[in-house]
Symmetry: C2
Subunit: 233 residues, 2 copies
Amino acid sequence: MPLPRTRFPSRAAAGLPPVTTGAIIDAALQLTVEHGLENWSLRELARLLDVGPRVVYHHVGDRDAVVRDVVQRVVAAVPIPPDELGWRDWFTALLTGCRPVLRRHPGVARRLAILGPAVPAALELMDRGIRKLLDAGFEQGAIAAYRFLLNSALLQLAVEDDRHDLQPRAREELAAALLAHRDSERHPGIALVAADVREQGTDPNDIVAVDDRFYEYAIARTLDGVAAQIQGT
Amino acid sequence: MPLPRTRFPSRAAAGLPPVTTGAIIDAALQLTVEHGLENWSLRELARLLDVGPRVVYHHVGDRDAVVRDVVQRVVAAVPIPPDELGWRDWFTALLTGCRPVLRRHPGVARRLAILGPAVPAALELMDRGIRKLLDAGFEQGAIAAYRFLLNSALLQLAVEDDRHDLQPRAREELAAALLAHRDSERHPGIALVAADVREQGTDPNDIVAVDDRFYEYAIARTLDGVAAQIQGT
DNA sequence: ACCTGAACACCGTTCAAGT
DNA sequence: ACCTGAACACCGTTCAAGT
């Protein structure tokens, strides 16, 4: 079976099409889903595409440039809530809606929190969010409120990602440290937490459920916090 | 000038005392102050101590073990507020008090948020904090409230650290991205943020002042959020 | 007990060059 | 325009060995 002759070197000789920028980001996205944004190397990415590391530089740039493009793609996948919702429902929808997308791509939440609205798709989101807060009467407080709401949710997701990474040993160490003080009368606070940890169990499914509840709790408290800002005025 | 003869190799031959675990952590702490917890290598640490990388392994363990010890030392330096304060003042004092210590050691806040009370000194802190919340009537909600308060503050500090790292190029890019939309009528929200950014200025001192104010704002809102939890009951 | 020296299997990034 | 191959200056970690 004759392969089409092209003027390109070995990749083409093997019948493979030239690597495109899109294909590189697709592959980087796949690696991010599998290992997390900070847990793949540019060389691994190149290997997955069957090219040398140099090719990635040629089409996208250095590792940071690839990472920014991945973040951009993930943010674009975050569902924007409908405009009819009130500010509190709108943010509740946004922050609960972004969680599955971001948790599926570990490390993206952190980068997004750091980059902020430097990512174009995040700019669009910010515009809608700020407008919602302005409509609700936040006035000059809208900017700080928006930043606070997004930061809180993103950083909570970032720490979930990080804790997930070091699950094997560290989770047990933490439980052990707590349980060691469980009946210490000098530390009633720790004893309470230890009892809570023991009740929750160590089953992975249970841990996921605990994280889910805490995230819900955290965004509810965060919304209460900014609500207090407007009620006070 | 005759050096004291010892039975140890080259270090001793040069008149240097044997490296101790304490000296290793001292050096790691110094590197953390200068470059941040994630921006020094185990080999740099060894070089600073004039030994081979193997020596660090011998006395402390792998890089993660060194990092945990550094975190431990930094947490121990966080001032614990006096017991007489009410819960809100106590947490305000804790969260404002830990900021200078943690910002002086970039990267520690993030590790602490991830490790949680696995660090012994953090356990002591947690015990006092939970007791304060129990006294204030939070009951079974005390654990979640404590976790939420600490997480929020630590993660805010962590993102300040991270943003500080990529100051040169990224800060300007962000400002540029915002200002590009400053008079876009389709994006009134972004225009408002752009005006705010321009007003703040780009002077490093001004940026620090903005971060200070936002941190204060964030912990006030976080405290309002958990206060709403107890008022509701 | 404390340290050395060399090695293993990696990194991100850059070079000069090939079709 | 697209890709190669080799190199540079690093990593964390582990080895067998020395006094």
